[in-house]
């Protein structure tokens, strides 16, 4: 790759380089997924609130029984997946806005991915464990 604007090598302007898939090299997929997951969570908000209300004041046995029932487990799984995905994209935007050093930025984005996947998988594991009754 020649440096942008270096004479005699490339006539492309910096603007032309970021066109099409843009500076992130991923186009508008994050923008779109941020909205898909947001709509999903708006739809899931009422069922999720109902689930939390059902669990108030119950002990572990009661909570485990409710969380392990199929419709509630499915609502929780959908909510966890949508929120983990949504927050991964959101935090990446925040990192890209405020962290300017390239290495620290990449490390932060990687840590963000690890955090979101770990939180999601831990929650999913718990729900599946409750559903299978082991």
């Amino acid at each position: 790759m020649s440096a942008p604007g270096s004479p005699g090598k490339s006539m492309r302007t910096p603007l032309a380089r970021v066109r099409n898939l843009g500076a992130s090299h991923s186009g508008t997929s994050d923008f779109w997924r941020q909205r898909v997951t947001a709509v999903a969570m708006v739809l899931l908000m009422v069922p999720a609130i109902v689930v939390v209300m059902m669990l108030l004041g119950r002990n572990q046995a009661g909570a485990a029984q409710i969380l392990g029932s199929a419709p509630i487990a499915i609502v929780m799984l959908l909510f966890i997946i949508a929120s983990a995905w949504h927050m991964k994209i959101g935090m990446q935007v925040v990192i890209e806005d405020y962290i300017h050093g390239e290495k620290l930025k990449l490390a932060s984005i990687m840590a963000n991915n690890f955090f979101c996947i770990a939180v999601a998988l831990a929650s999913i594991y718990a729900i599946l464990k409750l559903s299978s009754g082991v």
């Binding site: 002990n59 572990q60 927050m87 935090m91 925040v94």
Partner: protein, 132 residues
């Protein structure tokens, strides 16, 4: 690496006169970041429910002391505010609500709605759970 071209930067927050939409934009991002870390409590609670009575009792001890309850209350508000504020962004995404009075109304609606819904939910929660 190529040498950075020194372009003028846009002025930061302190330069601008504060507006409602600007404040809510910052709060939207701040609540998003808070919710991000709040998922740790959610994951902890689910894992505890899947682990056993002792682990679950730890979560309940946390959510019934003052600090823990304040965190869960704050999480409720952050979640509901972020949702309503996000719905406001959907309206804008669809190309509506850009007139001055419309965007102010949407923004006040999200701000007041978030607080009102949070208080309402907690009243219902106390009625159902008896303060537990």
């Amino acid at each position: 690496m190529t040498a950075r071209i020194e372009r003028p930067l846009s002025p930061h927050l302190q330069t601008y006169r504060w507006t409602l939409t600007m404040a809510l934009s910052i709060i939207h991002r701040a609540t998003g970041v808070a919710l991000y870390f709040g998922t740790l409590v959610l994951a902890w609670w689910l894992i505890a429910a899947a682990t056993g009575p002792a682990a679950y009792a730890n979560v309940q001890a946390f959510t019934s002391n003052f600090i823990g309850r304040l965190i869960v209350f704050g999480y409720t508000w952050a979640l509901l505010h972020h949702m309503l504020s996000g719905i406001r962004h959907f309206v804008w995404d669809l190309g509506y609500g850009f007139k001055a009075n419309e965007r102010e109304a949407l923004t006040w609606g999200a701000a007041i709605g978030g607080i009102a819904l949070t208080v309402l939910l907690w009243i219902v929660a106390y009625a159902i759970g008896g303060g537990r």
